[in-house]
Each structure stands twice: as structure tokens, then as C-alpha cells.
Symmetry: C2
Subunit: 104 residues, 2 copies
């Protein structure tokens, strides 16, 4: 159960990039048992979060709610070569900003 | 600018179903100018919200953040014939519940 989704994290100065990989078909109830990387334990609670990975929109929804307390959340869009800021509690990043990511 | 995204709403006793249709290619900065249906004006602030439509994940992310104060949020998944609860502030709907929707 623990390994349905694998998470990788990569920190830089401004944000934590969280990449997920779904290992087998995800069903809605699995959301009860998934533990995304904890911002406090992993020392990115003062930064923003960028989410990346292939999965259903409701899985993204779960992650967006989970990371709501972080500084900002952006969603990586491979068509845009960057991540789109969808919420922010800081003036440095505002709604609709595109955060360039060159190294995914 | 106002008509890049069309929203339709349909209320029942338990939730408001919000369906969107993107009329032309959406760019990240458009998020600054989009006004989704207001829960108070449209009298669904005491209910949950179900989101449905075809669009980028970051557009869903924007909506999820926008509707964070509502009772619960679920995302419609046509493969599941229902909507998956991704966050809830009520005991009646819990994370990972599938809300059946027969009439989309």
C-alpha cells in the first residue's frame, strides 16, 4: 500500500520540487493511505512547492490541498517548460507566474 | 478576456456542480482575470463543490484553491462515473469518497 506512489524531492533555494510516480492503478480510496513528503520533516515548509508527475486530476487535487500551508504552489506543465503558480502567500510569486524549470 | 472560460453551475441539495469550458488556449497569466462562480452570490457557500471540465491541471489547481472555503471539493473523473473527494470540512464526505454523478 505504501508504494502505490513514489515521491522524489529536490530542493533549491526557493522551492521544493516534488515529483511523483504512480506505480499501479490508483483508486480514490488510496488517498487515505498516501503520505506525501512532509514539509517540516523535509525542511521546505518555508518555501514553495512545485508539483510534477503523471496522474489523475484528483490526485493533484489531493496534493494541492495537502501543500496548502506552504509558501506557494505551482504545477509543472511540460508544454510550457515551467510550472504555473496557482496559489501564493508571498509577493515574490503571484498567481499565473511561470516558474522556469530547465532540469526535469 | 472575460469569456476565455465559460462556467455553468447546477445546484442540488448537497453540492454545486461547476462545469467549465475553455473557449480558447489558456495561458498562465489568464488566471489573474478569471472569475469563477462566486459561492456566496450563487448561494452554494454552505455546500460542497464538484469541478468538471477539460483543462490543464494548473487551471484545476487555481479552482481548487479558489473553492477551498467550501464544505468539500470533489473532482469529476469520467472514467469513474463520479467525482473524487479531495478535501472535506464535513464528516459526511471524506477524502477519497466517490460521489456518483449520473447526469453529466
Amino acid at each position: 500500500m505504501l508504494n502505490i506512489v513514489e515521491f522524489g524531492i529536490r530542493n533549491n533555494e526557493y522551492y521544493c520540487l516534488i515529483h511523483f510516480k504512480i506505480k499501479q492503478e490508483l483508486v480514490p480510496n488510496d488517498l487515505q493511505n498516501i503520505n506525501p513528503p512532509d514539509p517540516i520533516k523535509n525542511k521546505f515548509s518555508h518555501k514553495g512547492v512545485i508539483l510534477s508527475g503523471r496522474g489523475p486530476i484528483w490526485f493533484y487535487g489531493f496534493l494541492i490541498h495537502f501543500y496548502h500551508p506552504t509558501k506557494f504552489i505551482a504545477i509543472y506543465d511540460p508544454r510550457l517548460n515551467g510550472a504555473v503558480v496557482i496559489e501564493s502567500h508571498t509577493l515574490e510569486y503571484k498567481l499565473g507566474d511561470l516558474v522556469p524549470i530547465n532540469t526535469l
